[in-house]
Structure formats: C-alpha cells, structure tokens
C-alpha cells in the first residue's frame, strides 16, 4: 500500500511548518523521517493520519485522498503519536481491546490479536496493570501494541524508541524491520544510527522542506564526492620523502599527515579516481610496510549537520 504526498503545505499563522513537500512511499519500504526539532516531521505525520488537514496539497493512501474517505484511511493506518499519549486509568488489556474494537476488528478475532500483540511487544508480565503504573519503556510498548493491533497496512511511528533501554531499542528495531518487509512504515527520529539500522530510505527535512532523499549509501556518496583514505606506513627513512612521493601519485589530490612521526596520513583522491592501487605499488617499490589502509566514510551525522544548518 503506497502513500503519495503531493505539494503538502501546512501553515500555522505566518509560519510554514511544512512547505510544499512531495514524496512517495512504496509497499514494503521503511522510510526514515529525519530532521532537527521543529522541522515539520510531526506535522506531516499528523496530516497523513488525518488528524489535521493541510493548508494546501493532498495525501493519497492507496489512491484514496484524505479529503474523501478519512475513516477508510484511518482504518489502514497504525499510528504512534509523539509523546505516546495513553489512557493512564485503563488496564493494558482493556485498552488494547478498546482500540481493537474502535478499529473495527471482528469480535471473535480481537482476543487473538491482543494475545499476539502482548507477546510481540513483551507485555506479558504487565498486562493486568493499569497503564499509569507502567514505566516509560512499557508504556512505549503499549503504544506500539495499540498501533499494530488491527494489523495495519501502514505503520506511522513518531519517535518510536524514545524512553526505551538499549535492549528494548534493539528489539523494537528488529520488530520494525520485520513488519517493514510486508508493510509500509514511516518512522521519524532524530537518532541517526537508528535510521541507518532500520530504514531502507531516508528523507531529511529542514524548515519544512525536503533537503535529501535516498538510501544512506546514496546520501553518503552525494556528500562525500572524493575518495578519502587513511593509511599508515612504517619502515620509512624520511617522512618528507614519503609525503613528496605520495604527492607525486597523479590520482592523489591532497596529502595530510595526521600525527608527527607516527606515519599516519589522510589522503584525498581526485574526483572519480581511486588511488589505493597506486599507493600499494608505491610502498612495494620503496619497500615500505603498509600497515593500514582504510576508506574514510562521511558519517551520517556530518551529512545531517551539513544539510540542516546554514
């Protein structure tokens, strides 16, 4: 089931929270929504889930527009809102039953779905407690359970792993990946490793506009451009000679010795060229010992910072 967002704009007073964004999410795709605070992630999600109407533009869920049949769309979406609001005075099981009924699950299937959700989200020990008595991590699990109870085609999760401990985070990511195989998932976060670990595609938005769209590899390539290498050479007689020899290699643009006397250098190749083979040959010719040669990757953090700050 696909989601198509067309020219979406949402204006709060004079401020545009979302400014004319368009994108498409396909079935079986996990889309990571990335952006600094106040970039418009939550607003976009609220519009897709029919909680809010956009100022302009349209969202189509499986060719149904949010202006035509909201109830139909809502039935297909499982949504975990930001800050995970819950009825604190309700016991977990009763709450899941309530949500299940609201989402129109047939009476005889509800019990099975609840049992499954309790199992999947690891709520078994806490299922009879009131939600208000649970810790933050367990509440988050209840939030996930209620989002998935009706086995939705589309899952929209606003910061799903906040408040979870590292073990739970890994479990939840695994769960999202598993669900994402057959379903469409959009998740927002500002934890960068999370996006890399879970998402097929990354969408970075800043100030209401999309600034990057692609897999983490393509984003890296875009930002990086030239090949960067880090090498360590031992058994050489003079450092200056090493530098001048390296500079003589025609594919190398820049040589930068890292620390004095240690023999570690960072090299930047010319655009489109790779200098790994040349470096190796150079070392063989001079009988230097090549102790290390690693490609330096631009971190997602750097890409993010570059795109979202001015």
């Amino acid at each position: 089931m696909s989601i198509i967002v067309e020219n979406l704009t949402k204006q709060y007073g004079p401020q545009k929270a979302v400014d004319d964004i368009s994108f498409k999410v396909n079935t079986g795709e996990i889309l990571g929504f990335l952006g600094p605070n106040g970039a418009g992630k939550t607003t976009t999600m609220k519009i897709i889930t029919c909680f809010m109407a956009p100022t302009n533009g349209d969202v189509k869920v499986n060719d149904t527009s949010i202006y035509t049949n909201q109830e139909d769309i809502k039935k297909k979406i499982g949504y975990l809102p930001e800050n995970n609001p819950l009825y604190l005075d309700m016991p977990v099981l009763e709450y899941l039953d309530y949500v299940g009924e609201l989402q129109g699950i047939e009476k005889n299937k509800i019990q099975n779905r609840i049992v499954e959700m309790v199992h999947v989200c690891g709520l078994n020990d806490e299922k009879h407690k009131k939600i208000g008595e649970l810790s933050k991590g367990y509440r988050q699990r209840v939030g996930l359970a209620q989002a998935m109870i009706h086995d939705p085609e589309i899952l929209i999760l606003d910061e799903p792993t906040t408040g979870l401990d590292p073990n739970q985070i890994i479990e939840i990511r695994k769960l999202i990946r598993h669900i994402g195989k057959e379903k469409t998932v959009i998740l927002s976060t500002h934890i960068l490793p999370e996006v890399e670990a879970t998402c097929d595609r990354i969408l970075i938005i800043s100030k209401g506009k999309i600034v990057a769209d692609g897999t983490s590899e393509t984003l890296r390539k875009q930002a990086q451009g030239n090949e960067m290498l880090r090498i360590e050479i031992q058994d050489y007689d003079s450092k200056d000679r090493v530098i001048s020899e390296l500079q003589r290699i025609e594919t190398i643009q820049m040589v930068d010795p890292v620390k004095d006397g240690s023999g570690i250098f960072t090299l930047q190749s010319k655009p489109g060229a790779s200098s790994r083979r040349n470096i190796f040959n150079l070392c063989v010719q001079n009988k230097w010992f090549l102790a290390e040669m690693t490609p330096v990757e631009t971190k997602l953090e750097d890409i993010f910072r570059e795109l979202t700050t001015e």
Binding site: K46, A53, P81, D89, L102, Q103
Partner: protein
C-alpha cells in the same frame, strides 16, 4: 453507530473507575433526598402525595451535577493528548462527541432511576398524579441533555477541567436564572424572547404535567446546538485558512 456505543461504554466505565460516578450519585441522592423528605418545603410539610419538591431540588442539583460530569470528557483528552490517539482511529468527530454525550446521559439516567424508590414510597402514602411524575422525569432528562450539550462544548474548547466546569456553570446560569430575571423586568418582544429562552419556564410547565412540543423542542435545540459547537471546536484543527 457501533463506534458511538464503544466510546460511550469506555467513557461510562471510566466514570466508575475514577469514583466520579459514585461521588456524584451519592451527592445527588443525598441532597435531593434530604430536601424531599427532611427539610424545607418537604413532602410532609406540603402534605400532598406529589413529587414536586423532588423535582425542584433535582432541578438545581443536576445543574451542578452535570458540569462536574462533563468537565473532564474532552478537556482531559485535550490536555493529555489522547484526543489525537482517539481521532486517528477509525472514528469520526461525531462518533466521539455523541459517545461522550451518551455516557453522561446514561450516568444521569442511572442517578434518576435510583430515585424511583421516592416515587414508589410516595405512591404508597397517597393518591399520586402518575402523569405529572413521568412528565417531571422527562423534564429532568431533557434538562440534563441540554446541560450535557453545554458542558461538552465548554469541555471541548479548553484543556483545563476547572475552566470547563466554570464555563458550563456560567452558561447554564444564564438559562437557569438570568434570562428569567431579565424577562420579568422587560416587556414587549425582548421580554418574551428572554422568557422563552429561560429554562425554568419550560421546565415548570413540563413538570406540572403538560408536555408541550415547544418545550421539548427548546431543550433539544439547546442540546443540539451545544453538540454542534463541541463538534466544531473539535474539528477546528481541520479548518483550512
């Protein structure tokens, strides 16, 4: 229709979970019982087998009782953000409003049912005008519906329960007293209009046993107006400027 029922059942249960229901029912029965049987112009003072004293007390107690019931319905959801959770489920705004309306009405219905022993014991003491009694109950239910409508609207525009409570009392007091007082000081069209808007005029005639369609329409239109305003304030997040 099913969605409305699911929502109202949950809401109804939460009245009992939070003790609101018990406190309000006990307070309602206590107050109305005290003034019907023990104090002031009670049954024995009048010396007539009539539920009239009960109706005039219930008229006032319900005026305070209903806002206390409606104040948390939407204000709390606005505050905790659960309204977002609810409205992104496969329900419409009207399902939510009507579900909450029904829950409040059910609780008031239960409170009124529990006063049936008053009716039965007075019946045992002397000849009673059954028509007037049932009309009186009908009047109380219609009046509660209007108050619930007003209360839901007050609750929908704020995220603070106290504000919702005071606001619905404030709106209610106009219909209950102020229009009546103003009407008695004014003549002509304005006086008649205000007298028509006054709740007590309509309630008095119903509780005397005269069910006029105009009175019923009056109560129902306040109810519907309240609910429409509540729905509008719930869906104003959707307004496209």
């Amino acid at each position: 229709m099913r969605k409305i029922w699911i929502i109202s059942l949950r809401e109804f249960r939460s009245f009992f979970d939070s003790l609101t229901a018990y406190i309000l029912i006990v307070a309602f029965l206590g107050l109305s019982g005290f003034f019907t049987w023990l104090s002031g112009s009670d049954i024995f003072f009048i010396g007539q087998a009539s539920l009239q004293p009960f109706f005039s007390v219930a008229y006032w107690t319900l005026f305070f009782f209903t806002p206390a019931l409606t104040m948390r319905t939407l204000a709390e959801e606005n505050k905790t953000g659960t309204i977002e959770l609810l409205l992104t489920k496969a329900v419409s705004d009207w399902d939510v409003i009507l579900g909450k309306f029904l829950a409040c009405l059910m609780l008031i219905g239960i409170a009124l049912l529990l006063t049936l022993p008053y009716y039965i014991s007075i019946w045992a003491m002397g000849p009673i005008d059954h028509g007037a009694v049932w009309c009186g109950y009908l009047g109380l239910i219609l009046m509660s519906m209007s108050f619930i409508g007003i209360g839901l609207f007050a609750s929908s525009i704020t995220s603070n329960q106290i504000v919702a409570f005071l606001l619905s009392l404030f709106i209610g007091v106009f219909f209950l007293i102020i229009f009546n007082v103003l009407a008695s000081n004014l003549t002509g069209f304005l006086g008649e209009l205000l007298s028509f808007l006054s709740l007590s005029t309509h309630f008095d005639s119903i509780s005397r046993g005269v069910v006029d369609s105009r009175d019923v329409i009056f109560f129902l239109s306040i109810t519907v107006l309240g609910l429409i305003l509540a729905e509008a304030s719930l869906s104003k997040r959707n307004i496209v400027e």
